[in-house]
């Protein structure tokens, strides 16, 4: 693992990354790359992002000691990075504030976005409302049905929600449609991608804006327990919260970085979202990465109880970090995530998102592996309010069941 700085060429992370898009979009991506590079060099832009994150999003988010989980698991001391406390209820807002400010700086009047569960759509609609930009969100028709609450939130925030009827009518089709719309309106439209995926420079932009999570973990750990954590664990769908929490520690070889993918109904079932674990190299949505596909190169629909992990691809940088061994990858099934949801709710008083529940589901073992005296940080990437209908539909277990 000599190549710890994972970007090996512009937009390339080892074998992964790149810009596999129709020629019509290439000039727009080149323009975005340049505008982003200029913004990064401008201290005023960074100050503006930081100020909005502080005043509007409520950053920094706390690093909370999880005393009862620590006790129950009987291993490392457990701390929670509370992205669930960020405005709109998840880490997605970190990126949309940054990208919408970038869109405004580029003089774009109109913003489009894709969304699966609706969290990224809500976060984009929120940023657009704050800065007075027009916002159109593309969402699979099936997800529109399943996520009525977030559809309402987006509309209330002034966004237009387009139901996408093609393909599997879920996130990957929403992303296809957003790209098609962008091709047709590329001159005046900014496309806010929410995952650390897509064509270059998006994986880099999303990583940079989400890295505020990891940078805060760094500072807060030093204050809270006087050293860096021994391990950090985060869930991985497309990978935006994971790359944000983990990337600032890539060079710190003593910090174990662990990602948890959606095991769905089990890795043998064919119904999961484990693209790092079981995916093969391919091109989806503009970048070369690990994808779930059949032997003919057709993308397979993913499955997860959590809509945010229900995606057959993963960001190229995470694919590289996983292949080189820097990030350890594990999986948690739907049932394990559900059990973790109740455990965290009842032992810490926090309803985690089903996505984050996947990280919690593997954290107990990791805490024991690390052992006492060590420190484990779990990225609690979002709150579970959006998932209550899904979870309640499965029946609520009696409270005593959770006493360990």
């Amino acid at each position: 693992m000599e190549n710890m700085d994972t970007q090996t060429a512009p937009g390339r992370f080892g074998r992964y990354g790149g810009r596999y898009v129709p020629e019509t979009l290439v000039p727009a991506l080149l323009e975005l790359e340049q505008a982003y590079a200029e913004a990064r060099k401008d201290p005023a832009f960074d100050e503006q992002v930081t100020q909005v994150l502080r005043e509007f999003v409520g950053r920094e988010t706390p690093l909370t000691p999880a005393r009862r989980l620590t006790e129950q698991w009987g291993g490392a001391e457990v701390w929670l990075k509370r992205e669930d406390l960020a405005h709109t209820g998840a880490h997605k807002i970190n990126n949309t504030i940054g990208q919408v400010l970038l869109a405004r700086r580029m003089g774009k009047k109109r913003v489009i976005a894709e969304t699966g569960a609706g969290q990224h759509g809500v976060a984009t609609a929120t940023a657009c409302a704050l800065f007075g930009l027009t916002c159109e969100v593309y969402m699979g028709a099936l997800d529109v049905e399943r996520q009525a609450l977030n559809v309402f939130r987006m509309k209330a925030l002034g966004a237009t929600v387009h139901a996408v009827e093609s393909g599997s009518r879920t996130l990957k089709d929403a992303m296809n449609e957003a790209m098609r719309i962008w091709v047709a309106q590329v001159e005046d439209t900014y496309y806010v991608i929410g995952s650390a995926a897509g064509p270059h420079p998006y994986p880099t932009i999303v990583r940079d804006f989400q890295s505020v999570i990891g940078r805060e973990i760094r500072t807060q750990s030093l204050v809270a327990f006087g050293k860096l954590p021994d391990a950090i664990i985060a869930c991985i769908g497309g990978g935006s919260n994971a790359i944000g929490a983990l990337h600032p520690f890539v060079e710190d070889k003593d910090v174990r970085l662990v990602g948890v993918e959606a095991g769905g109904h089990g890795l043998d079932s064919g119904q999961h979202g484990a693209s790092l674990t079981l995916g093969t190299e391919g091109v989806l949505h503009g970048s070369r990465s690990l994808v779930l596909q059949d032997e003919n190169g057709q993308i397979i629909e993913a499955h997860s109880i959590s809509a945010g992990l229900d995606y057959p691809g993963v960001g190229p940088e995470l694919a590289h970090l996983a292949k080189t061994g820097r990030v350890e990858v594990r999986t948690a099934t739907d049932d394990e995530a559900l059990a973790a949801f109740y455990r965290v709710s009842r032992t810490e008083g926090i309803l985690p998102a089903l996505e984050s529940s996947h990280a919690f589901a593997r954290a107990g073992e990791l805490a024991r592996e690390l052992g006492k005296g060590k420190h484990l940080v779990i990225n609690c990437s979002g709150r579970g309010d959006k998932d209550v209908a899904t979870i309640a539909a499965r029946g609520i277990p009696a409270a005593t069941q959770e006493k360990a």
Binding site: G18, R19, Y20, V21, P22, E23, T24, L25, V26, P27, A28, S166, G167, K172, D173, N176, M179, R180, V183, A184, Q185, V186, E187, E281, G282, V283, L284, H285, G286, V291, Q293, E295, N296, G297, Q298, I299
Partner: protein, 263 residues
């Protein structure tokens, strides 16, 4: 270079016509019957056939070809099967017509770039169009194709700058596919006003023929565009006609377009 594509454009030109590149989806409605659609296009006057190979996530395609992709995937149209079953049958029925495969890069990667190039060439394919493979990403694949003499046909877009268009044309094999509108494939009632200028600009620098496509569906559009290009690509109009009324309707669309291309 395969050579066959240049010859097809030259033959059309010698007859005083623009070339018609006709696209249909292999495997729509099934593998066997799609062969009839391709053969009907040639009967209608198509000079080059574009064999569409379906991909699950066709980001460059509009609703007509998206729906055709879904039908073809249901019918079992994989790249391997298209090369084994559709291409040889079309070759047998239309031995003079060059064949070009149009699909997405992931489909070719899954078969293996080198393996695909070799197999495609053996089966009689002259070129390949990959709409999600821009020049920056195409070097390796182009080298693999060149080795077998399979043309990697590049695309130019309305957003492509003149300097970039020139460099695309310089590296072109087969022909340059000029995308007429910023958008996905599909019929348009109006084409952009500056299209003829853009076509002439690419034509001046291109060592290979230039064909315009996306949005062209009738003889009048073909006449206007054909005056500034060596040919036109027609896809959605053919796919829609074939799906609604069978091969004879596809033949009719081609014949109508071809009327517009007579000079």
């Amino acid at each position: 270079m395969s050579g066959e594509i240049a010859e097809a454009f030259a033959r059309a030109k010698a007859r005083g016509e623009g070339a018609l590149v006709a696209y249909a989806m292999a495997g729509d409605p099934d593998l066997t019957r799609s062969v009839d659609v391709f053969a009907a296009c040639v009967e209608g006057g198509a000079d080059i056939l574009e064999i569409g190979v379906a991909f699950s996530d066709p980001i460059a395609d509009g609703p007509v070809i998206q729906a055709a992709s879904e039908r073809a995937l249901k019918a079992g149209a994989t790249l391997k099967r298209v090369l084994d079953e559709v291409v040889p049958a079309v070759r047998a029925r239309c031995p003079q017509t060059p064949l070009v495969v149009m699909t997405y890069v992931n489909v070719v990667m899954a078969l293996g770039e080198e393996r695909y190039a070799k197999l495609a060439r053996e089966r009689g394919v002259s070129g390949t169009i990959l709409p999600d493979l821009p020049p920056e990403e195409s070097e390796g694949i182009r080298a693999a194709f060149d080795k077998e003499g399979l043309d990697l046909i590049p695309l130019c877009a309305p957003t492509t700058s003149p300097a970039r268009a020139e460099s695309i044309a310089k590296d072109a094999r087969g022909f340059v596919y000029c995308v007429s509108v910023a958008g996905v494939t599909g019929m348009r009632s109006e084409l952009p006003a500056n299209l003829s200028e853009r076509l002439e600009m690419v034509r001046r620098t291109s060592p290979v023929p230039v064909a315009a496509g996306f949005g062209i569906s009738n003889a009048e559009q073909a006449r206007v565009v054909g005056a500034h290009a060596d040919g036109v690509v027609v896809g959605s109009a053919i796919v829609r006609a074939a799906q609604a009324d069978g091969p004879a309707a596809a033949r009719q669309v081609c014949a109508e377009i071809k009327r517009g291309l007579k000079r």
